[in-house]
């Protein structure tokens, strides 16, 4: 009896803590619904009592191309990352060529390099090649955030696939490529989902590469859409926050649809189980 009320008290405290933690998210939604004339009101309305959708109308008018570009760049980054990381993960986990250890170390170090340093290097290269302000140049740059992570996830996951399955496919006469395509890849669905999720989310959220490499072109992602809003008309905060809400949708969808993959991705590499 005592433990049950204790548990209930825990639930109440948990709800309060979550509310406190998510207050900024709530505030973003609240401001996005606030009419422009009430924006500077003191005290501010803590609840959207007179909600307006003028902010969201501004999103529809101004930001749709940016959202489309971000979608394209996100999907492109996922495709490129999977294409590179899945075969490499298979090789590192099951074929183990010479230098596997060194490559793993290189991938770990690659993840520690600051984004601005990469951005500056990419800027010079893209300037030479005339790739600045191109959407697929941005896909290449964004993929550098996800590829090392992807290889590590695939390697860890495919190491867990029983060697008997791989050798059985071999004995049946399947070459390495057939084994990879028909046996290992279908079994690696969880790894594919995790890598895709994070690859998409990182590309969608990228600001450093976008601002450095794609500041002037016609294909700008949503992060730059918001940034431009803040810079230009920094009075219309309902429009800015409405864009922010819309830009958060992929994160929310991923959390609802694939929560366990998200947790798996966060812990991968950090904790040995």
């Amino acid at each position: 009896m005592k433990s049950r009320t204790g548990k209930r008290r825990h639930t109440v405290i948990g709800l309060l803590l979550t509310a406190l933690m998510l207050f900024p998210v709530y505030w973003m939604v609240n401001v996005s619904l606030t009419p422009q004339r009430d924006m500077r009101k003191s005290p501010p309305d803590l609840l959207p009592l007179h909600p307006t959708f003028e902010g969201y109308r501004a999103v529809l008018d101004d930001q749709l191309p940016y959202l489309g570009t971000s979608l394209l760049i996100g999907l492109g980054t996922v495709a490129l990352t999977l294409l590179l990381a899945a075969p490499a993960g298979f090789a590192l986990a099951k074929l183990r060529p010479r230098g596997t250890g060194a490559l793993g170390l290189a991938l770990l170090i690659a993840q520690m390099i600051p984004g601005i340093v990469m951005a500056m290097g990419f800027y010079g290269i893209f300037l030479d090649l005339g790739l600045l302000n191109s959407w697929w140049g941005l896909i290449v740059a964004d993929s550098t955030i996800a590829v090392p992570f992807g290889v590590m996830i695939f390697t860890a996951f495919m190491s867990g696939i029983p060697g008997e399955l791989v050798s059985a496919a071999r004995i049946d006469g399947a070459g390495a490529w057939r084994t990879f395509r028909s046996v290992v890849l279908p079994l690696s669905r969880n790894a594919i989902v995790t890598v895709s999720l994070f690859g998409f989310l990182w590309a969608w959220s990228d600001f450093v590469f976008a601002n450095t490499l794609d500041g002037g072109g016609g294909w700008k992602p949503i992060t730059l859409g918001i940034y431009k809003y803040i810079g230009n008309n920094n009075q219309e905060w309902n429009a800015i926050m409405a864009t922010a809400v819309v830009a958060s949708v992929p994160a929310a969808v991923l959390l609802v649809l694939a929560q366990r993959y998200v947790a798996a991705g966060v812990t991968a590499g950090a904790v040995k189980d």
């Binding site: 340093v117 500056m120 190491s159 959220s205 994160a251 966060v266 812990t267």
Partner: protein, 319 residues
């Protein structure tokens, strides 16, 4: 990885039966070539899109670039000049200090709050799984979303933070506009973003502590605090080390958040090595790519120092 080692002896006899000694060698070479074919795209990619940009950055930091020579590509080699310029710059001291304060204060709070929450959520009450999932949201949001939301919350006249402080009888604070508070503001926002990461990793570490230990301790009359101090904290030390070091490497290179909220200002009040490097290279109409790249190199060195420490700790835990 153990799996790969287990299946090797099983395959070897089968190959030996089928082929002579030279045949086996031939087979092994073919297998090596196959493996190489699978990693080759990755190797080419790493060379072209990691090593080459890094090389370009290093090259930038060792030459005397102007906008014209940047485009023409004929900047003269200048050795350590850029590094000398950067080290002698009045911004260097503050930027270095802010980087350290930003990193260590962020990490300390993220870890302490993350650990407290992990212990709390480990008690499996109703809704605990759902609420723990909701805690992930700040970490998943695009940084520009979090940064602009916090910017508006910290607004000196109309921000909700000052409004809430008003309730507590505190006078309005110019969070992002005063040199005293700008760094604190970005640190607070960064702590908020980093808590989920710490919570998730530490929580998964707690799962590996056997429940019997707590039961035995409870029988011996140990209270909740005693149990935390004698069991949870010591047994969580390996996971804690990994979390802190990984957090360190990630926090050192935070750029988006500070750039969007304050651009490193007012003045240099919240500039770190990351924002200063960007400021030099891209922040003005007259870019100074050389010094900007030099600051980037210094940042890499610091990140790698902590990164190698992380790898060492992780390797030692694995063995």
């Amino acid at each position: 990885m153990t799996v790969a080692r287990v299946d090797r002896p099983r395959r070897a006899p089968a190959a030996a039966v089928r082929a002579s000694d030279t045949g086996a060698r031939c087979l092994r070479r073919r297998r090596r070539l196959t493996a190489l074919a699978f990693v080759a795209p990755l190797l080419v990619y790493l060379a072209a899109f990691y090593l080459y940009p890094l090389y370009r950055n290093l090259d930038l930091s060792l030459r005397d670039y102007t906008v014209r020579s940047f485009v023409a590509g004929d900047a003269p080699f200048s050795g350590w000049d850029n590094f000398r310029t950067v080290l002698g710059d009045p911004t260097f001291g503050p930027a270095m200090r802010h980087t350290m304060v930003f990193t260590f204060v962020s990490i300390a709070f993220q870890y302490a709050i993350g650990l407290a929450l992990a212990v709390f959520f480990n008690r499996h009450f109703r809704l605990s799984t759902v609420l723990r999932a909701l805690f992930l949201i700040p970490w998943l949001l695009p940084l520009i979303v979090s940064a602009s939301t916090w910017s508006w919350m910290f607004n000196s006249e109309s921000g909700v933070v000052n409004y809430l402080l008003h309730f507590l009888g505190v006078a309005p604070v110019g969070w992002l506009t005063s040199p005293t508070w700008a760094l604190a503001s970005v640190i607070i926002a960064n702590i908020w973003i980093g808590i989920p990461f710490n919570l998730v990793i530490l929580h998964s570490g707690l799962q590996n502590i056997p429940g019997e230990l707590y039961e035995a301790a409870a029988l011996d009359g140990a209270g909740a605090w005693q149990q935390f101090r004698r069991i949870t904290f010591p047994l969580l030390r390996p996971v804690s080390a990994i979390t802190l070091l990984l957090g360190l490497v990630y926090t050192l290179k935070v750029f988006d958040l500070i750039w969007i909220m304050t651009k490193g200002g007012p003045g240099d009040a919240s500039s770190t090595l990351a924002t200063w490097s960007y400021q030099l290279g891209f922040g003005t109409l007259l870019p100074r790519f050389g010094p900007g790249a030099a600051v980037g190199d210094i940042l890499i060195l610091i990140a790698l120092a902590f990164g190698l420490l992380y790898i060492r700790v992780q390797r030692r835990q694995e063995s």
